[in-house]
């Protein structure tokens, strides 16, 4: 008996591969939960009756100003100002996700455009854009950020601009490389011979072939952007208090050695940051495997070889 053979579309195949990756699935679930928490942050605030910036001087702090540990009223404890850590964490997720996703998308758009133009046209355009990417990559990021903040003052917009400015280059490089090989392919030649213009070739012939790397690299850029934002806030250069952000919460925990007493101030934002970046990275991996089955086979073979080597 021949088993029934079904014809599956590329999307379905990709989804099946994605769903069969357990780590990828778990991380996706975590990210969805995080998005729900971020969107429902106001709901959490309403449920607990604590707003993100309300200071509970009587119940959230000891008479000598120490934060109180996790309890029935404050599930994740309070911070040094008597604010609910859980509510601030949820509101911080908003900022982290918003900055992570928006910055990655913007950086992807810039990276793809620059990479596409550089790779497609080649010649002096490629040289100029290539050097531009080199230039951006060679700027010391934190130093530049410090001076920008000194001039303009810290704000969310500035953080976003800086993160985008310093993260589009990786995407640009990858896309350029891909385009260099794609533009020599027969279908491009065919389009050209049928009289298609440059724009038409770039967008209808080349771009759809770049789907996989764009999705993978954009996903991978999200955790980098989140960490970047957390770093800026940790240094006091990002989100302006009292707005909560994970990096800012960690900075407040480090300030005045309060973490020596209040472990919950480091643990919860730290774990949130860790799991979020880990999830996006694993999801990116899973997406690559799903979108590009060839690379997954290589990986499996490599793994086998490594484990064999370890056993011998």
């Amino acid at each position: 008996m021949n088993p029934e053979i079904k014809q599956r579309g590329s999307l379905e195949l990709t989804l099946r591969r994605l769903l069969s990756d357990r780590a990828g699935l778990v991380s996706m679930v975590f990210i969805i939960a995080l998005v729900v928490a971020a969107v429902g942050a106001d709901g959490i605030a309403a449920l607990t009756g604590h707003s993100a910036t309300a200071q509970f001087l009587a119940t959230g702090l000891t008479p000598t100003g120490l934060p109180v540990p996790p309890s029935g009223e404050f599930l994740f404890g309070t911070d040094q100002l008597g604010r609910d850590v859980l509510v601030r964490l949820a509101h911080g997720a908003r900022i982290s996700l918003a900055i992570g996703v928006v910055a990655s998308l913007l950086a992807a758009i810039i990276g793809v455009t620059v990479g596409l133009v550089a790779g497609y046209f080649g010649g002096w355009i490629d040289v100029v854009l290539g050097r531009l990417m080199d230039l951006v990559m060679s700027i010391p990021v934190l130093l530049c950020m410090l001076s920008l903040v000194a001039v303009f003052g810290p704000s969310m917009t500035l953080s976003l601009i800086v993160i985008v400015f310093f993260s589009w280059t990786t995407m640009g490089r990858v896309i350029r490389g891909q385009v260099l090989s794609l533009r020599e392919r027969e279908f491009v030649l065919a389009s050209r011979s049928m009289g298609a213009g440059h724009l038409s070739i770039m967008f209808t012939d080349i771009l759809p072939n770049l789907g996989a790397p764009i999705i993978i690299y954009t996903t991978m850029m999200v955790p980098t952007s989140i960490i970047f934002e957390a770093t800026l806030s940790f240094l006091g250069l990002g989100i302006v208090p009292p707005a909560p952000s994970w990096g800012g919460m960690l900075a407040e925990a480090a300030n005045n050695s309060i973490y020596m007493f209040a472990w919950w101030l480091v643990l919860f934002p730290g774990l949130a940051l860790l799991f979020t970046t880990l999830s996006f990275n694993i999801l990116g991996d899973a997406l690559r495997d799903a979108l590009d089955p060839a690379s997954m086979r290589n990986k499996v073979q490599k793994k086998k070889k490594q484990s064999a080597g370890a056993a011998s």
């Binding site: 008479p63 100003g65 100002l81 006091g236 208090p241 300030n255 005045n256 050695s257 020596m260």
Partner: protein, 571 residues
Amino acid sequence: MALAGLTLALMSSAGAFAQDAQTGGTLRVLGTAEVDRFDTVPPATADTGSFFRATTRQLINFAASTDPDEQIAPQADLADSVPVPTDEGLTYTFKLRQGANWDAPDGARQIVAGDVERGFMRLCNPFIPAPAVSYFEDLIVGFADFCAGFAGVEPTAEAMKAYIEAGAVAGIETPSDDTVIFRLKYAANDFIYLLTLPVTTPAPVEVLDYLPDSPEYRENYISNGPYTIEAYVPDTQVTLTRNPAWQAESDPLRKAYVDKIEVIAGVQPDAAMQQLQSGDGDMLYDINVPPVTVQMLTMQGDDKISTLAEGSSRMIWINTVSENNDGALRNPLVRQALNYAVNKAAIVQQLGGPEFATPLNGIFPLGILGHHDFAPYPTPDNQGDVAKARELLAEAGYPDGLSLKMPFRNAGNGAAEAQVLQASLEEAGFKIELVPTPPSDFYPRLITNFDNALNGVWDLVPSGWSPDWPGGAARSIFQPQYSYDGTHGTFNFSDYNNDAANEVAAKALATSDLAEAAKLWNEVDEIVMADPPTVPLISQTTVLYHGAGVQNFLPYAAGGNGDWTNVWLSR
């Protein structure tokens, strides 16, 4: 409960006296920054006071003590007694103590009256003048003239030496080697306190060959205290060793038990606290004990914590010179509303409770002659009165509130304090925009630059003040901050002036009756607060901590820390 524990801790730390004093050993003092000045003339951080205590002596000084009254009682140091002014408070005659020596290059040499006068002359040198010089120009006969002439001298060691050697200050007389007479322009009851400032240290003739605090000055350092500099590695360590010219019987205030003192720079607060607890370090230099650490130590029953009231305070300055909100802050009603709105109890709580801070309602904090408990804008338990604030704001014509910009110093407790203030002010209808400012910019570039006030870069700033000397220091709070004589003062952030207050202050300075002076300063405080240029927040208490090996840890008020010259080590 915690309060009782701390009181107990404070009491038991006094129990260390029971042991016999031990001589010898090396005291290790830990700091983040290095000792910034060796010379007493140029502007120095307050922490340097501990260093100057060990290497320099002044006519008058304070005893290291756990008794708050004794801490701020002027005592004879180089003078052989604290003089009573004659000539209706205009003349002070000092006899110099015999046996107090310079560690001069050619051996020990008695400190003489001419050295005292030379010390004053160096204050207004054109190379790098002393910050306290205006107090003395204002007080000592002929000193302003001397300084005016000095300002025109070329800032080289040769030219300055020539000017000092040729010149004289009319109001500082040296009839004999052991007598100095100061003549004042007007009677000032805090003149004795002014003579405790390290800037009044006498100067030996040799130092005129070097520019103040230059590498050559440091190389040829001449001490007159119990210790002198043995080695100095910039940004790393200063090592003090015994000064061979110093005689114990000539110095009633310093016992000098330890043989060497190492001041180590580059230690972070956390690391320093850990080293103190493990015994690798003994005392802290410029490091404030973090409030949380204090409370953890208190919970563990650590008895090495003590406190010191230095007359430090925190307040919010209100910008009355900008055009922001059409000059709304010029309206006294709005400033009074701010005073009603702030929750001072929350600031106290944030700093660790009543042991570490006390709500303040006037310009003179605890520990200052002139402080009194009054409440021009009373609120229940100092928690702020939102309703009253809103009422005044509406009366002033701003029923919908006001938007104000408040930069804060983004270091230590700055962010927490700013957010606590923001919370209570917003409840009262003020919309507060916080602007985090790096500590390196906050005072030097933002606040002390008057253009920023004029241009409305800030509306409110949380700020702090410590007087130049402890005790009778009302002058050192009122004059730099709350009076304006036409030239903008660096620390009077919005050119506040009140003629009625100035008049009473002048009387308070002149009277020889300290009780009357205190009463007059109280009056000054009330006049200023009726038309408030600031929102006083708290009187601050400094928390001190030391390692287990340190015995006889006595606070020295002018250094804001334990006295290096009176501790002994038992490891």
